[in-house]
Symmetry: C2
Subunit: 401 residues, 2 copies
Amino acid sequence: MEIVTCKAPVNIAAIKYWGKRDETLILPLNDSISVTINTNFMRAKTTIAASPHFKNDRIWLNGREEDFTNPRLMACVNESKYRQHSNIKSMQGNAIIIEKAANWKIHIASENNFPTAAGLASSAAGYACLVYALSRLMGIDGDLSSIARKGSGSACRSMHGGFVMWKMGKEKDGSDSVAEQIAPSSHWKEMRMLILIVNGCKKTIGSSAGMERSVKTSDFLKNFQLDQRVSALRKAILNKDFVTFAEITMKDSNRLHSICLDTYPPIQYLNDTSHYIIQLVHFLNDHFGKPKVAYSYDAGPNACLFLLEENVSLVLSLVNHYLPPLLAETNTVESSYFKGYKVEGGLERSPPPPDVLKAIPLTPLAPGALKGIIYVDVGDGPQILGKEEHLLDDNGLPITS
Amino acid sequence: MEIVTCKAPVNIAAIKYWGKRDETLILPLNDSISVTINTNFMRAKTTIAASPHFKNDRIWLNGREEDFTNPRLMACVNESKYRQHSNIKSMQGNAIIIEKAANWKIHIASENNFPTAAGLASSAAGYACLVYALSRLMGIDGDLSSIARKGSGSACRSMHGGFVMWKMGKEKDGSDSVAEQIAPSSHWKEMRMLILIVNGCKKTIGSSAGMERSVKTSDFLKNFQLDQRVSALRKAILNKDFVTFAEITMKDSNRLHSICLDTYPPIQYLNDTSHYIIQLVHFLNDHFGKPKVAYSYDAGPNACLFLLEENVSLVLSLVNHYLPPLLAETNTVESSYFKGYKVEGGLERSPPPPDVLKAIPLTPLAPGALKGIIYVDVGDGPQILGKEEHLLDDNGLPITS
């Protein structure tokens, strides 16, 4: 039995992907740009085992067996096998062994350490991890992002660390629709993210179905030209220009949700709490005369706040003031409410500066509007993990913890 | 002392006005189409008195004295005086008396019988009423909508009954930006409106400031072409084609709020309850395979539902099921919760059909999401009222009731 375990990151788009020009190949209508989240606190983990003794291909997601015939899963597995086959042709030595192994059945186990299907790019991390693990198992070289793309469009961006651009490409076969790194995580060390998990109902329509409806019905989606915005954000990242980065990020988040409302029937991912956070951010930025923090929302109500490390304490104190947690959630030291990096001196609970409070004409929400806060930074792409991390045992069956 | 009292209607736009091409003349960026609400239950009422003995121009709104130097108020008064002067030139007989009266000071008292500044077109009814009363007092003929437009853009549509189109016009001086009747209220007798007053905070930005920000920052607003939509809705009204009317109305409401989100910083008038009503309407319409009801939202969270009389009982029963009132509000017969026409047999409280309930996958909201419901039909334009309706006494001062 061959076995490999990998982890892969979540990515948050600053310029959003919304709309496909090809549903099967998953080719997007526009370029998008994302920031890769450090896998320390948010990651997908996937173990793949291959054996001549396995009778069927099987998959377990978060401990539960799922149907292997999921067309997106199949697309990634089949594309990986096709690439392996091409590789083998140009190989010497152990090509025969690998070719044999290509016909073995595989067992996959995958899990996320953060909520799935809550607009937190869980499928992006999941498919990136799947494709990376397949590539390690099968010995596939070259661009992997175009394989991951077939699982979930935005998964291709999780194949790289740091700041990543998914080029829409022009070819009909999608061969040039790949993700590339703009800059590694080390390029802009000061960049931080606060992920605010908003309490609310689960979403009414998934992002794939949502964007398909938008492509069919939204005039706004049809007419919007993104090229200038993409090149401006790319430049802002290379120059570490936070003000421009923040403004474009907020505008592009708004563009996505504006398209959703212009879709027929309309789609609504943001709720009252999401909009309250948007207001809070603008009041805060207005007070300082320039953006200190930027919001970004995907297909769900949770906010991702981008900010520089020097402003984390300030912003966190304001978030805690205006969107206070339920008391019970912060009473214990080992609170599950605050995740990710610790802020020095427990600043999560220190009061915000009076002059800033005075400048923000908002009434704090009732406690419990947020489910939790995750404090993270920019990280690297997928990696192989040691055997102590395997999710499958020696028989290729899930290890129950 | 000369005195006159008038009433004027609210109008609800099915194709929205959002964005001016001239801020001073109040010239819109696009044509808009509205339905005039019957003044039986929602109306502005204005009394204007003119006297050689008044020392100053004065105005009382809803019983409270306000500043007469409001530029929009002044624009309407001055434009009326200018028109009067032009009229006099072509008059015989009592021209001298009228000319003298034109220099008298005026007292104005105005009140609405519905909440102001809640996205219920209160300023439209108010300015329409002001201009109509001025015209009766001053003996002004010809198009009045272009005077009302200078008070509040959408006020020009309240100068006519039934179904009304405000043509954007092309002239720089705004002379062709006038409202015209598409069809009188008698043309489509079956049309009804249910106005759902949504509980929520007051709006964070008024519609004038909001649309100005949209014009400056929204790409969507810049690029959208409305011509086809306008002519299709006009045709639907003339053909009494509810299905087309409903679909265009909903799409155009969504367009407005989509533009608001695409504005920077973004503007949010809809809240979670508004979005819940949107979902409810789409589920209901999907169940029947065609629109039975259409929603429309202006610069606030309140919904205006358009529907035919035959569907009022059904829709009202669903609204009461999914957005139930607080018990206390319906316990009394003289409930202030239900306003407007009575539904036969008190159907407000009858349960909705089980098959429809089954088709709608929504959980009812907690009681109290709505403040009230107003059931109205289409009505006529401004009218003169008898002297028993005067809001000013013989001295030209407000009558305190």
